[in-house]
């Protein structure tokens, strides 16, 4: 059995009187693609926010490669790449600046460590080309000038570039056309082939069935099913998601 890259045990989270997550236990192994499904309000986003360090849990713990993760800086240190639902891009900055934001390439010696813009532009181009995208040639363009689909692809490229152990994707194909969906799904497979664990939240159940190794279903803040997608249909999944309601 391959090594566990993500281990969640006994996770709980309350917002006032509302229980968002209750005793959630989940493991993701190297190269495994796990899809997190659930109806609106099931707790998917809360769980993703805790795994990426944006939110803290009330109980339980999150381990990445055996090390505790409880903040955004832990996530960065432990090589967790994230594609947020709102993409978390800075519109006025360029593609290259967004791709390297918080991880800028520098040259020189302290205190004169200056940005290495040519290197960042070159590597940004390579990262985007690696995804097979032909529409994002000029990495000096501001993100504000890109279409919704192009921005989504850029957010995926950024997460892929910095993820070393785990990648989290919250609705990564929401604003994409069929061709771009294929590009993103393909890049997720490539990341998994490189041994990176993937946790994916998506409402695109047909794509999830094609892509995921496991389907984990959340209902009312707790995991109600952990299924293999083999032989499952969209309606089977929906039935488990909504339960008897």
């Amino acid at each position: 059995m391959s090594q566990e890259v993500l281990t969640i045990s006994g996770l709980g989270k309350n917002f006032g009187a509302v229980t968002a997550l209750r005793d959630v236990n989940l493991t993701v192994h190297e190269g495994e693609i796990v899809a997190l499904l659930g109806d609106n309000g099931a707790g998917k986003s809360t769980l993703m926010n805790i795994i990426c360090g944006s939110n803290s849990a009330d109980t339980g713990e999150v381990l990445v490669n055996g090390e505790s993760l409880s903040s955004l800086s832990d996530a960065k240190k432990l090589g967790v790449g994230v594609v947020y639902q709102d993409l978390a891009l800075s519109p006025q900055l360029t593609l290259a600046e967004n791709l390297f934001l918080g991880n800028e390439a520098k040259r020189g010696f302290f205190p004169f460590r200056f940005l290495d813009r040519p290197r960042m532009q070159r590597e940004s181009k390579e990262a985007i080309e690696k995804l097979g995208i032909s529409t994002l040639r000029d990495v000096r363009l501001p993100v504000a000038s890109l279409s919704g689909g192009q921005r989504q692809v850029l957010a995926v490229a950024r997460a892929m570039k910095w993820a070393k152990n785990l990648i989290l994707l919250d609705e990564p194909t929401a604003a994409l056309g069929p061709k771009q969906v294929e590009i993103v799904l393909d890049s997720i497979r490539k990341a998994s082939d490189h041994g990176i664990g993937v946790v994916l939240v998506s409402h695109d159940i047909p794509s999830v069935l094609k892509l995921a190794d496991r389907i984990v279903i959340l209902r009312h803040g707790t995991i109600v099913a952990d299924l293999s997608p083999e032989g499952l249909s969209v309606s089977d999944v929906v039935t488990v998601m909504v339960g008897d309601e």
Partner: protein, 344 residues
């Protein structure tokens, strides 16, 4: 295709490329302001008696005023690029000059003159740093909006200056403050102006070539995104508020060096001059965009208008109207050009 045909076919392409370059340069806000300034200067020079507008004395006076406004506008531009604003700069300037003035008066009998002058500069800047750190704490830690925070600081620093001085301007500072700094000039260029330009150049280099500038812009562009990628937003918030107030402190020292006294009631609107200069120069109030050159030429535009209107003998009330009109025109033009391009 023959060589001559090829040349003919390429001709429109190269001329259109040149035209594109010219249009690109002309679309730069700083260049537009410089062109406006050239026209305004020519008009004032033609209308002023005996060409007094471009006399050495008037140019030096404008540059001395600019040496202070430039510092304030630079601080504002950096803050605005992160989505913040500081309306307490004028009060911080007064407070810093009061503290530095008092320290210099107290120290001049016990210390050498150069040491007193240096001490005054250090105290003025540190006074600014202290007030800037309070602003940063309120915005970054307590979570109060920067406009509200600095509105409070405007009142606090003004009141503190009045309490310390009893409402009377300070006198008795070392004379060498003027002769050794404020009145030193190289041709028409006053030393305070050179110092201000040097400070701004250092800030620009660090903003443009280190991660600090990109991170500050990212905070103004999308604060949550900046936090999520691990940018130390609190540290930057402290840095930029302290910078803004330290620059106001430096401007306070220049004030002492120009007049050898404090000007307790004279600078309360200085923050507005800095904000207007940064906005006219193309820095976005909502963050994510900055122009240092724009802030510099924006500062000069207001100063040229004020000086010119005085020289051609128009009522001082028109100066205020002219600066306000320039601000509204510049921001409206910026808005419409961004709407045409699809905006940011």
């Amino acid at each position: 295709m023959s060589a001559s045909e090829l040349k003919f076919a390429q001709a429109p392409t190269s001329s259109s490329a040149l035209w594109h370059k010219v249009l690109k340069v002309l679309s730069n806000r700083a260049v537009q302001i410089i062109l406006v300034e050239i026209v305004v200067i020519a008009i004032f020079q033609a209308l002023s008696p005996n060409g007094a507008f471009l006399s050495e004395a008037n140019i030096r006076g404008m540059l001395l005023t600019a040496s202070q406004v430039l510092l304030l506008a630079t601080g504002q531009a950096v803050l605005m690029s992160a989505g913040h604003i500081d309306i307490s700069q004028g009060a911080v300037l007064i407070f810093s000059s009061v503290i530095a003035g008092n320290v210099m008066i107290a120290a001049q009998d016990s210390m050498s003159l150069p040491a007193v002058l240096v001490l005054g500069a250090v105290v003025a800047i540190l006074s600014g740093v202290f007030l800037g750190a309070i602003n940063a704490f309120m915005v970054g830690v307590v979570g109060i909006n920067s406009l509200v925070t600095t509105l409070g600081m405007l009142s606090l620093a003004t009141g503190a200056s009045q309490v310390i001085t009893g409402g009377v301007n300070l006198f008795g500072m070392p004379r060498e403050l003027i002769s050794g700094f404020g009145a030193v000039k190289f041709g028409a260029l006053p030393l305070p102006m050179l110092v201000s330009l040097l400070i701004i150049a250092v800030i620009w280099v660090f903003y443009r070539y280190t991660g600090w500038g990109t991170h500050t812009l990212a905070m103004g562009s999308n604060f949550l995104a900046a936090r999520r990628v691990g940018i130390k937003t609190l540290l930057i918030t402290f840095g930029i508020f302290i910078l803004s107030s330290a620059l106001a402190g430096a401007a306070g020292y220049i004030d002492l060096a120009r007049y050898s006294t404090t000007n307790i009631s004279g600078h309360l609107n200085d923050s507005m001059a800095g904000i207007a200069a940064a906005l006219i120069g193309g820095t976005a109030l909502t963050g994510g965009r900055i122009s240092f050159l724009g802030a510099i030429v924006g500062s000069f535009l207001a100063i040229i208008l004020q000086s010119g209107l005085v020289i051609i003998n128009l009522s001082p009330f028109y100066q205020t109207i002219a600066v306000g009109a320039m601000l509204l025109i510049a921001v409206s033009l910026d808005r419409s050009s961004r709407n045409r391009k699809g905006g940011d």
